[in-house]
Amino acid sequence: MTRKPLNSLPGFNFWIKSRWPQLIIRAVLLGGFIIAILAGFLGTPVGNRNISIVAVWIAWWAALILVAVPIFGRGWCAICPIPMPGEWLQNKAVLGPSVNRNSSKVSRRFPKRIRNIWLQNAAFSLLAVFSVVILTRPIVTAWVLLALILVAIGVSLFYERRVFCRYLCPVGGFIGIYSQQAPLELRVADPSICATHKEKSCYRGNEEGYGCPWDVYPGSLTANTNCGLCMECLRTCEYDNILINLRSSGDKLPAVRGGSLDSSYKAFIMLGSAIVYSAVMLGPWSGLKDAAYQIGSLTWWGYAVGLLVVIWAALPGLFYLVTRAAHKLSPSFHNPRQIFNTHASVLVPLSLTAWIAFSLSFVFANGSYLVPVLSDPFGWGWNLFGTSNAIWTPYLSQYVPVLQTIVLTGGLFWAARKSQQIAEARNAPRQSWPIIIFCTFITVSLLWLFVG
């Protein structure tokens, strides 16, 4: 793997280490976040005329899944406004660091047994069953956004560091696993410097910055998953030993560093929800769409149970059978759970490209809703920039199926290559065959839904 540190770029360290740019960007985004909440409560209930829906679920989502995650990994987490008020209260400072060089006034740690992403998996699943309504009704979006920010504040007052981001945020969980594939990473330049540095200021904080808010020790960082790119360690490192690298490939495979069941399940949840959403929103089954909308009805309960069964049981169960077949085809010394967790990592690129393809289907089609909403964010009849009467225009509609095909096919090859690498690392090359067949089946199913 080749790496190119960005720190050597002129002015890079200055702007990254300064607390002001990040503060200003996050404050502006928090202002937008509050506007989205107000629009949801006070604005028109018509989704495509309300900025809460258009800005959050079209503009932000497009920027996140099509640009931020594939390129910057956890770059969004670096500027996310949701934990900001909680951090301010926790640190008793807006700019910081506070006079007290401790990373936070609150010292209570999050319970060890839930220091994993099971809660994030559960939170994402909970949102998933209501997603169709969340995506279309401004007031529901407003409640969700408000709930996120209140939970983030509450947790920050009770536990140290950014517990909400690390263990609770329903979005942070999948950004974490997808960031493993990003071409951007934060790593130490020389681990030996960290090993001999007694103060461990990157983790504990000093007068230049807070100890890692993500509860990560940068010296041992080998994957992007839990690094929020908050840049505190660049500020606190007394030896300028922290680098932001451009790299030629993703994190090392879990075949080498080991996988965990909660992360595996995150991959299943993301892949399963991408399949179900595509079926509901793009498929030819109007009954399915109605069921997803009619919250509380018997059909909705059927949809909700079906969705949860698919992402929590059916897909993992099917994949378990596939990994058993892989083990039989080419036995290795790993136990079934290890094989399951390790091979599940190939679903990360597969589900990422599934989400990108799914997002392409509505981002280009609905992107033009942003134009009138900018002039009339609340649907109150304003015309701030003279664009409120702009009509809906789908963009690039003839190219979207081509793009989706390219993305999904690329995801399949990516996943297949990862599967081969895992199998080769175990000296069991034929283990990848059933996995690749499984990934091909998923890809063909998605292509059928997207392209027809």
Partner: protein, 329 residues
């Protein structure tokens, strides 16, 4: 530095929101907002507005779900479309006190016709709209609108044709061509009267029906029928069907049981205007009465506060085009 950061953060975080909410508060001055949603979700809100005679009434019409239309009954105001999330501002000025009905002109849902509201115009009460209204003809004629008027035993070989009636070369006597006769008689009564005339002795029963068609056509003009057709398409076809067969998109499904509409109100499937047995026992006065009063318990709304008298007669005349061939050229 921390203090500067705090001030900057407050401005950046809350500045835009405060400006937006304040602008809204300023901008809302003097406008009455009327929200439109499908009747199942509330219809017009508010549905009752009071204003003063000769004072401008500034309305902001806001659709919260689908496309609705706004119009004032018995007025020359062109209907205004209200698109979801795109508020529409209009100004109304009433020069007569009274009670005005506003209603939805777009087929917004199964209970679209329930979307009505009232604008009460207060002021000099010496002359009011309601004072100017004349007594409906069906009351003057003591017609019981709810009494059955279908003719299950009607002996009719074919639907009568105005064109065939003209070919008979018989001019019905003037009393049959008077407006009073047309309005107050049913086609079946007219057939009985014409059958008893000496000039029809050599005509068979079907030919007498052609004369009835001729009499009915003489009572209207193509211009009036066009007006009636436009009103029908806008207001009636949703339930009665574009071809008058009672199969409109919002008509109660005949298989529904009990016969309740989607809001739990009594309703029946609309009649088939093409069926002479359902039409020829009704006089124009009865049909116009049903239009303006509405059919109690059938789901048929009242149009008396919305259609002018001329409009209601034009609509009545148009209804005969379904059961009389060549009624309209």
């Amino acid at each position: 530095m921390e203090n500067i950061a705090r001030i900057a953060a407050i401005v950046l975080v809350f500045g835009a929101s405060i400006v937006i909410v304040a602008a809204r508060w300023v901008n809302a001055g003097g406008k009455v907002e009327i929200h439109a949603t499908m009747p199942e979700k509330g219809g017009w809100l508010p549905d009752n507005i009071t204003t003063q005679v000769n004072e401008p009434l500034n309305l902001r019409l806001i659709s919260d779900d689908v496309v609705h239309g706004f119009a004032i009954g018995q007025s020359d105001l062109e209907p205004v479309d209200i698109h979801p999330g795109k508020p529409k501002d209009i100004t109304l000025t009433f020069d007569q006190p009274g009670s005005y009905t506003f209603y939805c002109t777009r087929w917004c849902g199964a209970n679209h016709w329930r979307m009505r509201g009232t604008i009460t115009v207060e002021g000099d009460t010496s002359t009011t709209v309601s004072d100017e209204a004349t007594s409906p003809l069906y009351l003057d004629l003591s017609i019981d609108l709810d009494a059955p008027h279908d003719l299950p035993e009607l002996n009719l070989e074919r639907v009568p044709s105005t064109e065939l009636g003209q070919k008979l070369g018989i001019d019905p006597p003037a009393r049959y061509l008077s407006r009073e006769y047309y309005l107050s008689h049913t086609p079946n009564q007219a057939w009985g009267d014409l059958r008893s005339e000496s000039f029809s002795e050599n005509l068979n029963d079907s030919q007498v029906w052609e004369l009835v068609a001729l009499v009915w056509s003489a009572a209207t003009t193509n211009q009036l029928l066009n007006v009636g057709q436009e009103l029908y398409n806008q207001n009636c076809a949703a339930c009665h069907g574009a071809q008058g067969r009672g199969d409109g998109v919002f008509a109660l499904d005949a298989s529904d049981s009990p016969e309740l509409d989607s809001m739990g109100n009594d309703a029946v499937q609309p009649p088939d205007f093409n069926d002479p047995r359902q039409m020829y026992g009704a006089s124009p006065a009865l049909l116009q009465g049903k239009i303006i009063r509405g059919g109690m318990g059938t789901g048929m709304p009242s149009w008396g506060q919305i259609l002018s008298e001329d409009q209601s007669w034009a609509l009545t005349n148009f209804l005969w085009t379904f059961s009389i061939q060549d009624h309209k050229e």
